[in-house]
């Protein structure tokens, strides 16, 4: 891919700066402890986790493009499989870096590698993530090395299966939290899988059109339109799962307090849910994609950006709103204590958390930008595709 | 891992054997150590790690290789601590060998009797 030299280096410099700021934030957190973040003993997972989960879920979903090409044999998607694999590795690297640097003792990651608790979903995920790195790398190799091409279909199939298991694992992190009202639902793993389709494809659209624009190439509008329609379908499917999750909660009497908090009177959380996720993340993108007078390249990219924004809003509500609502330790009693029993927990993210999160995005950006320049990841569309 | 590096460092540094430029340490009360001092210099970390797992996981508290035992004898008689000064028993040597000590992020470096009095 031919960027103009100056543009390429300024992109690398900008991405590098963001990454450096993120690392600096992690250093501050390491030195002072988590006291400099907004997290506390009630909200134990904060903004870094919102960024990390978004990137990890999108890393799995972005592989959808490759799967449709390799597993289902669609030529338009097959041409995009290398870029999809690259984005997956980049996003996974970014997300995992954020997750790791947010640990209380990031210097001890070796402990996590050498002590393995087989009952922990976190520990399973360590295997799932490293497995995905490995499989996607092999898959990219089978596609880019001509002698390996015959293997690219089985490799694609393996990736296809693996990422399903991986996103199931991500969903299970929350699904296994039996005592928390917001989590502990068997609906979460499939919900995360479908959501990953939407977020992954949205990230793909944004990355693809940015790289096209930077290299001065024109993107075939009919292909964008087709892939835009697919994004619309994924967005609706994700919305269905989110609705089903909240509706089942509404049906259980003991969950109605929590749903009331998230959907109506929880202050920031309902606002983020309805305006951020509902309007920006669903309604507007769907209009942009399906309105007869829209649906062109520019509106598909805008829709994708909105889907990403809506994704962050949904995750903020899910991760932080889910912890803010008090745990029901004594059902039937109104509780109060010095440790936040019976009270809504307060959380306001601090600057280091933002920097760390954006640092993770910066890592994904750097990996992608540098890779598309040195290797041939971009699609080569044959004219007149008919499938 | 750290322990391994430490051994490598020791192996690569003949200065101990030659007794040339070794740090001067405030060894506290000193006296008869649980093992030969030269051997302890090389192996104390293994003893400590073994003892710590026995204590934390199985509740065995009377082992003689405990960190508290080390501190009891070797804390300085001036400030009752094995860390904090350049010639402190733990810190002095670890600084000389450039090996980070993780113990005292959580463990007190003070002799227990002194800690209790200061409270």
């Amino acid at each position: 891919m031919q960027f103009k030299n100056r543009l390429f280096w300024s992109l690398i410099a900008a991405g590098g700066l963001v990454v450096l700021l993120g690392l600096f934030a992690a250093h501050l957190m390491e030195e002072h402890g988590h006291i400099i973040t907004g997290m506390n003993n009630q909200i134990v997972w904060g903004l870094p986790h919102v960024f990390a989960i978004f990137m990890i879920v999108a890393a799995s979903g972005v592989l959808n493009v490759a799967s449709i090409g390799s597993v289902f044999g669609k030529a338009v998607y097959k041409a995009r499989a290398p870029l999809s694999g690259l984005l997956s590795i980049a996003l996974l690297a970014g997300g995992l870096t954020v997750l790791m640097l947010d640990l209380g003792r990031p210097d001890r990651v070796m402990v996590a590698a050498t002590n393995y608790n087989p009952t922990s979903v976190f520990a399973w995920n360590v295997l799932l993530y490293s497995g995905l790195f490995g499989l996607v790398s092999v898959y990219l190799w089978t596609m880019m090395e001509q002698r390996m091409n015959p293997w690219s279909r089985p490799a694609g199939l393996a990736v296809f299966v693996w990422r399903f298991i991986l996103t199931t694992g991500t969903g299970l992190i929350f699904a296994f939290l039996v005592a928390r009202q917001a989590y502990g639902s068997a609906l979460l793993p499939p919900m995360f899988i479908v959501i990953s389709f939407a977020w992954g494809l949205a990230v793909f659209h944004v990355a693809q059109s940015a790289i096209y624009a930077w290299s001065g190439k024109e993107h075939a509008p009919d292909i964008v339109k087709r892939m835009g329609n697919l994004l619309g379908i994924f967005v609706m499917a994700a919305l269905y799962f989110v609705a089903a999750y909240h509706l089942t909660n509404l049906y259980f009497a003991h969950q109605s307090g929590f749903e009331r908090f998230i959907l109506i009177d929880g202050g920031l959380y309902p606002r983020l849910f309805w305006w951020g996720y509902g309007l920006l993340g669903n309604l507007l993108p769907l209009v942009l994609i399906f309105h007869p007078s829209l649906g062109k390249t520019r509106s598909v990219v805008a829709a994708s950006l909105l889907v990403i924004l809506g994704g962050f809003a949904l995750l903020y509500v899910f991760v932080i709103g889910g912890q803010a609502y008090p745990l029901s330790i004594f059902p039937g009693y109104a509780a109060s204590s010095s440790f936040g029993d019976g009270q809504i927990a307060q959380y306001s993210p601090s600057l280091p958390e933002f920097l760390l999160g954006f640092g993770g995005l910066g890592i994904a950006f750097l990996i992608t930008t540098a890779s598309v320049r040195v290797l041939d990841f971009m699609p080569h569309d044959k004219p007149h595709i008919a499938d | 891992m750290k322990a391994f590096l430490f051994i490598l460092l020791l192996a690569a540094t003949p200065s101990w054997a030659a007794g040339s430029i070794v740090p001067k340490l405030d060894i506290g009360k000193g006296g008869q150590c649980v093992e030969d001092p030269q051997w302890m210099r090389k192996n104390h970390m293994h003893l400590l790690i073994r003892q710590r797992d026995e204590t934390v996981r199985k509740g065995i508290r009377d082992g003689k290789y405990s960190l508290k035992n080390c501190i009891e004898c070797h804390a300085s008689l001036r400030d009752d601590s094995v860390i904090g000064r350049d010639d402190s028993f733990c810190q002095g040597c670890h600084r000389y060998e450039a090996v980070k000590i993780d113990c005292f992020e959580c463990h007190s470096g003070k002799r227990k009797s002194a800690w209790a009095q200061s409270k």
């Binding site: 001890r108 | 003893l47 463990h107």
Partner: protein
């Protein structure tokens, strides 16, 4: 071919021998270190019975004793507790939403038989001792806080700041998770947990649930007691009377 095989065998023998020589001193030391003392046994299961009728509203003596014994600041240095301060034990005031009855009780790690924190911990830092005490091995804790997400009792705290001047008997430090240890350092010396000793009304009865002759086992046989969130089936070691 056979020559190679012989050579290889010879090589393997030598390496195994060398490995044995390298390991042996360590093993000997291990034996020596073992000495006479015995590990805690699963014949014992430590537990507590808390009588809420004797727990006075507004009394904080157990929490104060816990903080003092374990070296927690308890908000004393900073003028009041902040949401980032560790609280191993807290007093919870309850009001029955139907009848309006009020009661007060101490809340801490319930030392479950099937602890969710142990299940979710990726490194095995959260563990249950043979005698039922649930602990965090801070040497292994990487500070991921998944256990805090999983605990149904909000019993755990994360150390948000560097600490100094810890109790030599109770090591704790920045970046790791901690919770009530049932004063394991005292139990191993044959003493009671600090809270049980400090309670002016003797509302906290500590003892061995597995010994049918112990006072706690007798009381649990004769009076009605409940486990908090018994519906989760975790079989906690802390029981409450009058809840």
């Amino acid at each position: 071919m056979s020559n190679i095989n012989v050579q290889r065998r010879q090589f393997l023998k030598t390496s195994v021998g060398l490995a044995a020589v390298a390991v042996a001193p360590g093993m000997l030391l291990f034996e020596a270190a073992h000495g006479q003392s015995a590990a805690v046994s699963s014949k014992v299961r430590w537990g507590m019975l808390i009588d809420t009728a004797n727990c006075t509203d507004g009394c904080n003596d157990c929490v104060a004793a816990c903080n003092k014994g374990n070296g927690l600041a308890g908000g004393l240095n900073s003028g009041g507790l902040s949401p980032t301060d560790s609280q191993w034990m807290r007093k919870v005031e309850l009001k029955d939403m139907r009848g309006g009855r009020t009661l007060s009780l101490p809340m801490m790690c319930q030392h479950c038989e099937h602890p969710p924190c142990v299940d979710v911990c990726p490194t095995g830092a959260s563990f249950k001792r043979a005698d039922g005490i649930v602990l965090v091995d801070r040497h292994r804790c990487i500070g991921c806080r998944y256990c805090m997400m999983a605990c149904p009792y909000k019993a755990r705290s994360f150390v948000h700041e560097p600490l100094h001047d810890q109790n030599p008997d109770v090591p704790r430090g920045k970046g790791t998770v901690e919770s009530c240890t049932m004063c394991v350092q005292r139990i191993d010396r044959g003493q009671q947990p600090a809270c049980a000793e400090a309670c002016p009304n003797k509302a906290i009865l500590f003892g061995n649930l597995n010994d049918p002759e112990s006072e706690i086992a007798r009381r649990i046989r004769t009076v009605a007691s409940v486990q908090v969130r018994a519906d989760l089936g975790l079989n906690t070691a802390i029981r409450y009377q009058g809840l």
